[in-house]
Point group: none
Chain length 526, copies 2
């Protein structure tokens, strides 16, 4: 599909997005995000609601000094209060004082809201819309009218809903944005209503969808197909409750599926970067499975998929991951077979011989059945491959380990570990205390090994995760331990599994050290 | 909208869902999920791919003994290989040997796949579809035919795509499932294609959508509107890459927005419970903003919304949260702590006095800050409340506990625990060996306490979970242990938190016993 259509992107991450539980942007965050959105080619950036809090007033002052290239800044607010004249309304005056070129104001389209929430008459609500738009225009602002709850209102009283937006049109609003504020509308209903509105309203339309039914992206795209010009949304779909329409999914659909130029192909390659940048400032993690930009969005696990993707990526990829700045990822697991392993080994720089492949695949399947899991533990996978190929020469042997934890009533617990390690023909016995039994073991092992490999001081554990498998067996269940270790430059993952948490942890920790020593030796050999 | 339409739900969490990076279900997990899905009213449960791994073969054996009420079990596989006769094909024979009543097999609809991935002729592919379906039917199986990449295939070569499903129809497939395998299709295209297929194919249709474009729920609902009978998906949308269509969002849309009876209103109230149950076994967290079932799906922050919602919930809620087992959440200051506590205490049958409330709220806040979490540990909460009100009389005191784990090279690890417990003026010292340190402690503690409270033999740990908090501190991080205990009639949860996993576990285990003893004493006093 190739469309010569104009589309405007209107981002409200800084206003509606910041209503999400857990998000709280500082003024600096908001300015940084504004610059990034501008760079990326977003057309309108809603910076805040100056009438609602002092941080937003400051934002509108500060943003005037940003040298923006593409974006226009919009300030958000509402129509005047039922019993105030516009010039008396602090909310409208805050919009004017923001000096933003655009004011986006919301008003009521749903009769229920007018009578129950505003407690005024249907006629006065219409007058409020007209007065507010005219007042802002008289002060030189471009006005976008946001018809709150338009779809719910239309469902219950279509005549009245239509009347409110016609009033906005006559008062001079330059966009009329239809909002599915509660996020409850179905795509087919959105289509029907947008088409009806287009018959009666000439002003360019917008869509503002929420994700309460997991339909916000679809509803935005369907409204676009039905003739809407402006799409409102937020980065990563942040927003109150279940969030707003996710621009990070909408933009590539427009560019790559509808063939509409929105930000251009060059900028589109920074989509993943943009998503992660905003997530970072919002202190949120990007889910691995987030469409287009998650780390696993183009991950292939099933054996059938992998072999086909290697022959021709189109077979299992809806778009080329590089177009949105992402990349393909092949995952090795029990579900996969030969081709995943071969691909993965290549990534690790290992050329596998035919006679090794079968043995390694079988060993992986066996271990995964026992509770191992190599997806997040590629270092353990590499060690396994090297061991089975006979390429791994051990750096040390653990003869024995013991860890004791003692708890005395009313006192903090004590954990102490002993290990006996052999390196070549030397035998070392060390002991250490820790915060807990695993920490004690980690410390005792390091004490022993740094005598032979002092460079081990450079590495440290950065993440430690425990998962109980088949937990219905209570405390006799099996556990899997995942460890992430870093040398300050790179990070690698290892895994251990056992019914005994101490053994599982010890194995994962030992492998984290063995992996790093192996890599250091490889460097020396080059 | 009220529709008298038949809809079938086909769940593939155990097969397609388990392809998600990070998910690895044990055999027990798979059986438990099967029971839960059956209870919830899912019509078909795809249990696995018996031709691909040993765990799935075991599953199909074990599942025959489950007393299922609603669901039929399906085994997944593919059409025969290009150069094998059906009776020689190990994959088809694994389906027959699974003894599942239904075989769902996928075949190619996209000419590109036939020539590039399968490397065979378009004619042979048609023959493979026919042979495979006939072979499975001859062995008494009902066959669902999954037309892989149907939409992509149709886009490029509609005649051939249509030919493949007509062949499946003639060979006797009882459902033809149209798959958007790469998740790249737009809703309007899905609608167009389903309508075209319906004109030419009489067999009931299904839809199998993936979420690569954040459109899987919309595409499934739109296919339903266009006449599809079966909707395939997974719980919470788990699945490879960006996941499958999320049944947790599709089911309430069908029930509450289309007015179609799918699982019934009673079961729908367990939607949130189902979503969390599967997430727990998948070791995934439910995102707070997940539609319908996330903890914040009906959370209201800030003034306008809250006051309107309190006047009339419909103003900012698309459905009543209780219909899906969720609840409204008003995010306000510490006042919400108070009212939550009073509400919760009432549920537990405790009438709190004014002077206790403040102290308890503060203690809970302090403990939650330290890593405790009472949502899944109401027994610990109840003990806490009773302790702070001075109503709890202790049953025993732990004087000290010690646990030793020893690992000798090449031998299984040994864990041994000692505990000293005082009951009234008597002091008992016991020791026990276990599978791991926590199991050893649990056994030693029971040995000691059953001398005084022999009825403790009736209770047993049924679940044990460990979560590492602030895991970036490596093995010195804090851990939270959640324990579920059962007396065969009811199950209760307790929690412990510490930097020492042994201490955290011991506390959770002790509380599980204390809680039960307290409840037994209350019974006696009545």
């Amino acid at each position: 599909m190739l469309m010569k259509r104009r589309v405007e992107l209107y981002d409200t991450t800084l206003r509606d997005g910041s209503q999400m539980e857990g998000i709280s942007f500082s003024l600096e965050d908001k300015l940084k995000i504004t610059e990034k959105l501008d760079e990326f080619g977003i057309h309108y950036i809603e910076g805040g609601w100056p009438g609602s809090n002092p941080k937003d007033i400051q934002y509108f002052k500060a943003v005037r000094d940003l040298p923006l290239e593409n974006a226009k800044i919009a300030a958000f607010g509402s129509t005047r209060r039922p019993r105030l004249r516009p010039e008396e309304d602090p909310n409208l005056n805050a919009l004017v004082e923001s000096e933003a070129p655009i004011a986006t104001i919301f008003g009521k389209s749903w009769d229920l809201h007018v009578t129950e929430a505003l407690r005024t008459t249907l006629e006065n609500n219409i007058q409020m819309i007209i007065d507010s738009i005219e007042y802002l225009r008289d002060h030189g602002m471009v006005v976008f009218y946001d018809a709150e709850h338009f779809f719910d209102g239309y469902r219950e009283n279509p005549e009245y809903a239509m009347k409110t937006i016609k009033a906005a049109e006559e008062a001079g609003a330059e966009r009329i944005v239809l909002a599915d504020t509660n996020g409850g509308s179905l795509p087919s209903f959105i289509k029907e209503v947008v088409e009806k509105v287009k018959e009666e309203v000439k002003t360019p339309l917008g869509i503002h969808a929420h994700n309460d039914s997991e339909l916000a992206v679809a509803n935005s795209l369907i409204a676009f197909e039905a003739g809407v010009v402006q799409i409102q949304g937020t980065i990563n779909g942040y927003g109150e409750r279940c969030g707003n329409a996710n621009l990070i999914s909408i933009i590539p659909a427009l560019e790559l599926k509808y063939g509409v130029e929105v930000v251009g192909k060059e900028r589109l390659r920074k989509l993943k970067e943009l998503a992660h940048f905003v997530a970072e400032l919002a202190n949120m993690e990007i889910p691995r499975n987030q469409p287009y930009v998650g780390d696993s969005a183009f991950a292939h696990k099933g054996g059938v998929h992998v072999s086909a993707v290697l022959k021709n990526p189109r077979t299992y990829e809806h778009i080329d991951p590089e177009l949105v700045g992402n990349r393909r990822k092949v995952v090795v697991s029990e579900l996969s077979g030969r081709s995943n392993l071969i691909y993965k080994a290549k990534e690790l720089g290992i050329e596998l011989e035919e006679r090794d492949i079968k043995r390694i695949v079988e060993e992986i399947k066996k271990l995964e059945f026992e509770g191992y899991h190599f997806e997040a533990a590629e270092a353990s996978l590499e060690l396994l491959i090297e061991r089975l190929r006979g390429r791994y020469k051990p750096f040390f042997e653990l003869e024995r380990a013991r860890v004791i934890t003692e708890i005395f009533q009313g006192q903090p617990p004590i954990s102490e570990a002993n290990v006996v390690v052999r390196v070549n023909s030397r035998r070392v016995h060390t002991t250490a205390e820790g915060n807990g039994p695993v920490n004690a073991l980690d410390l005792a092992l390091r004490k022993a090994l740094t005598k032979f490999y002092p460079e081990l001081k450079e590495i440290k554990l950065v993440d430690y995760k425990v998962r109980v498998l088949g937990s219905e067996k209570g405390t006799a269940a099996k556990v899997r331990v995942l460890v992430q270790t870093s040398d300050g430059k790179k990070t690698w993952g290892t895994v251990g599994a056992s019914t005994n948490i101490i053994e599982a942890s010890l194995n994962a920790i030992m492998e984290s050290m063995e992996y790093w020593l192996m890599k250091e030796r490889e460097k020396d050999e080059k």
